[in-house]
């Protein structure tokens, strides 16, 4: 017998899961972001304490000084869960792939001016390692953070940084060859102008408070480094050598525009929770901001020469405005 199931009109018993309904109000349909995020992490009745951190439960809100009544107050304005995240990144990578193909096919880098090439190689290739540090730090936040609403975007952020390290590697291989990757690594490890930045990155690798790490990495370092490289340096390279490098770094600049909204929203949520949070976050931001500026100054000087002081001022001013808008007192 033919059965047409589509014609049955059924009144559902409920619209969503109880935990989601408790947050949205009953009889409201929930989005896939909400069902795939809210309360996803276990929060009670853990069986054993970690052998590697017996002072804490497996997931433990006391791993940070920040206190929240509800860790699901954090909302990702992009509403990323795995599906929407991968779709968004697949779209971005498709465009970038097209750009890389075009540059390779047309040999657009063959006549890239020597001075611009040198500058790009020297300033951009060691950033592979900075991206790698950012990858590690976001893996950390995802692992030890509290509540899926904030840990989930951090695994996305971690993988994004890995992806960007790989795009930078490809630029290096396109512009030169693997010996330049080695040279960039040597510069990262030994060249004086990179050492303050490397110190900054290595110091963040051992930060135990995951929200502090969030500030040090996602708000402060990214917040100063990305505008420097993908706006200021990009303009310099474009002026000297045309827009090829802007094409090859388009992922990074689009990525920063997108992710900073999420970073700001997260900081704002935590800061507006309580004056105590606001004070802690502001103090972290201030101290990391100053250290990051110290770390970036030699690179800005090297890359931008006489424009460096003005650019540093502009970067600082823009960052301060952004932090203030996110509810911090600097």
């Amino acid at each position: 017998m033919h059965i047409d199931l589509r014609t049955v009109s059924i009144k559902p018993l409920r619209q969503t899961f109880d935990n989601v309904a408790a947050r949205l109000g009953t009889n409201k349909p929930a989005s896939r972001y909400q069902e795939g995020t809210l309360d996803l992490q276990a929060d009670v009745n853990f069986h054993y304490r970690p052998l590697w951190d017996s002072a804490h439960e497996i997931f433990d809100a006391s791993r940070t000084a920040i206190k929240m009544r509800d860790w699901y107050s954090f909302k990702d304005p992009r509403q990323f869960y795995y599906g929407t995240y991968t779709l968004a990144r697949a779209r971005m990578q498709e465009k970038v792939e097209g750009d890389f193909e075009l540059v390779e096919e047309r040999g657009l880098l063959e006549n890239y001016p020597a001075a611009a090439k040198k500058l790009a190689l020297e300033v951009m290739l060691p950033l592979r390692h900075v991206e790698w540090g950012a990858n590690m730090n976001n893996a950390s936040i995802c692992a030890y953070g509290y509540g899926t609403a904030i840990t989930q975007p951090c695994i996305f952020q971690a993988m994004d940084h890995l992806g960007m390290a790989q795009y930078l590697t490809r630029i290096g291989l396109l512009l030169a060859d693997e010996t330049e990757l080695e040279a960039a690594k040597t510069a990262w490890l030994q060249d004086a102008k990179w050492q303050e930045l490397r110190r900054y990155v290595e110091d963040t690798l051992v930060v135990k408070d995951w929200f502090e790490l969030f500030i040090a990495q996602n708000l402060v370092l990214d917040g100063l480094l990305y505008p420097f490289i993908y706006e200021q340096l990009d303009q310099v390279l474009a002026a000297q050598a045309g827009p090829v490098m802007s094409m090859l770094t388009r992922f990074q600049s689009e990525w920063f525009t997108e992710t900073r909204k999420w970073v700001d929203a997260s900081v704002k949520t935590a800061a507006s929770e309580s004056p105590e949070n606001q004070a802690i976050l502001s103090q972290w931001t201030l101290s990391y901001r100053d250290r990051a500026l110290t770390a970036l100054t030699p690179l800005v000087n090297y890359a931008l020469g006489e424009n460096a002081p003005a650019v540093l001022d502009a970067l600082l001013e823009e960052f301060n405005m952004r932090a203030t808008k996110a509810g911090l007192k600097l």
């Binding site: 047409d4 199931l5 692992a143």
Partner: protein, 517 residues
């Protein structure tokens, strides 16, 4: 110039290395042991992470591209399945109970795997291994979310799904999977990789996913089938990672062998015990059966697992001792488990039932040595009682194994009529176990296992009632209070399938469809 062109063409392997481990460096402003504080205490000796063979070579751009394609397809199938009321196309509504068990027991483990791999993907000192683990961390989030999204529509129409997260952290039988994964993530990073990456993902995964996915396909559930199949292509990567990790540890230092062997023994048993629930689902909860648990064990453990351990023999690895007992028990455990769930059917968040006659016949045929002799008479008796309106529900609390946390229903390996009890003393307390292997696991790390959140002890200690409940009040009904705390809706989520709301709704909706058709 020619030289330069030649140098540009890195081999795939070198190119991938430049994209991953080439990013890493030896820290000097902070000591490496502070940057990676957790990868030495287990005693695993790694001399050269450069010897790590990448189990797969996937750069992030390719990852995003492939995975997005899979997601697009999967959600298109789900949307169509939901719009067409695909849930009414399943064999019969009893099948849906397998999905309830899946969402409450397995999906939270996918999430734990996500966080566990993020942890290991941060902590292992080798960059190649870290990248592979991080990718798995991302995949496991996918598994958790695609399962929730697939089952979301079932939740709208059927009971038992509505508070899966809350239930996972509280209900007595769900502490079996929860404690399994808590055990793995609280171990060191190398043990985690043996527990989850190898024992679970490599040795046992086919026993979990093949029955479940084929079960969904056999029973007309395109939605669950779709997420299962979609996840399997991720599993292929996860399996190669687990295997590489084992081989790498064994190749790095001979002193690693006894540690790794101990972990394989432990985690094979932990996994086998947990899979009792999967076996029970295969034999009892699928209206249309794929294969028996016994057959699945023979194909996926005895044959494939046997071949794997043969392959590992050159490293000195031997097949875990517990396999002998599991092989004897393959003819028993699913019947013992279902009979137990049937009797505790008031305290479970899914419906239970006695199989129909043809189903009992199928079990007799699949289990010629044991079913008629030990289990069929019991089930027939319980079924008879139910027909006479005396459906049996146990109201006592079972004793649980301190290690696997399963109620004590397993029998002595050499005597299927005798329940197996083992015990150990630790700091003047007695602890009980279902088997020699569970006892051995406890005896090796008693400080860990005494911490377990034991659901029955917790009830006795009064920790499983809502805060406003007064256990000293007259007429206090502890079982009802515990179910309330579990958020099991009495008469909707629990009890017999016969007469359940799910049964009635499914029949009504299907009837409407038939008359429309």
């Amino acid at each position: 110039m020619d030289m330069k062109v030649a140098a540009k063409k890195l081999g795939l392997k070198e190119r991938y290395a430049a994209m991953t481990r080439g990013l890493d460096w030896e820290t000097t402003y902070q000591p490496m042991d502070t940057v990676y504080p957790y990868d030495k205490f287990e005693g695993i000796k790694i001399h050269d992470w450069d010897k790590w063979e990448d189990p797969f070579r996937l750069t992030m751009d390719a990852y995003w591209k492939y995975q997005a394609e899979k997601e697009r397809k999967l959600y298109a199938i789900l949307d169509a399945f939901n719009q067409n009321n695909g849930h009414l196309g399943v064999t019969d509504a009893r099948y849906i109970n397998a999905l309830k068990l899946f969402l409450t027991a397995v999906t939270p483990l996918e999430y734990m795997a996500h966080r566990g791999f993020a942890h290991v993907g941060r902590q292992l000192r080798g960059a190649g291994a870290r990248v592979a683990c991080q990718m798995q961390a991302l995949d496991e989030l996918r598994h958790a979310q695609t399962q929730i999204h697939s089952l979301s529509n079932y939740n709208k129409h059927y009971n038992g799904f509505h508070d899966w997260r809350h239930m996972h952290d509280r209900i007595w039988y769900l502490s079996v999977p929860k404690s399994f994964f808590d055990d793995a993530v609280t171990a060191g990073p190398f043990e985690y990789m043996v527990a989850i990456g190898f024992s679970f993902e490599y040795v046992l995964t086919n026993l979990l996913f093949v029955p479940f996915i084929s079960g969904a396909a056999y029973n007309g559930d395109m939605g669950a089938m779709a997420f299962g199949f979609s996840a399997q292509s991720d599993e292929a990567r996860h399996m190669t990672l687990g295997l590489e990790m084992i081989k790498f540890m064994l190749e790095q230092d001979p002193a690693n062998l006894p540690i790794v062997q101990g972990w394989i023994d432990k985690w094979t048993w932990r996994g086998v015990r947990m899979l009792t629930i999967v076996g029970m689902m295969m034999d009892y909860m699928l209206p249309k059966r794929v294969m028996s648990w016994k057959e699945a064990w023979e194909i996926y453990f005895e044959e494939s697992g046997g071949a794997l351990f043969k392959d590992l023999a050159r490293y000195g690895i031997t097949i875990p001792k517990c396999v002998a007992q599991a092989t004897i028990e393959k003819e028993h455990i699913t019947h013992q488990a279902w009979t137990t769930f049937y009797q505790y059917g008031a305290a479970a968040a899914f419906n239970t039932w006695i199989p129909e006659k043809e189903e009992l016949d199928w079990l007799s045929e699949k289990y010629p040595n044991t079913f008629d002799k030990y289990y069929r008479p019991r089930l027939e008796y319980l079924g008879e009682q139910a027909k006479q309106g005396k459906r049996f529900y146990s109201t006592t609390l079972p004793m649980l194994c301190q290690c696997c946390q399963i109620p004590m229903f397993f029998t002595e390996p050499d005597d299927p009529t005798k329940i197996c009890y083992r015990e150990s003393d630790h700091n003047g307390e007695k602890y009980h176990f279902c088997s020699d292997h569970c006892k051995e696991i406890f005896d090796h790390e008693p400080e860990k296992y005494v911490q377990a959140w034991m659901p029955v002890h917790q009830i006795y200690q009064g920790n499983c009632f809502k805060p406003d409940v007064d256990p000293t009040a007259e007429g206090f009904d502890p079982l009802a209070a515990v179910l309330d705390w579990y958020n099991i809706q009495f008469g909707r989520d629990n009890l017999d399938f016969e007469g359940s709301e799910d049964q009635k709704n499914f029949d009504t909706w299907r009837q409407t469809a038939k008359s429309n058709g």
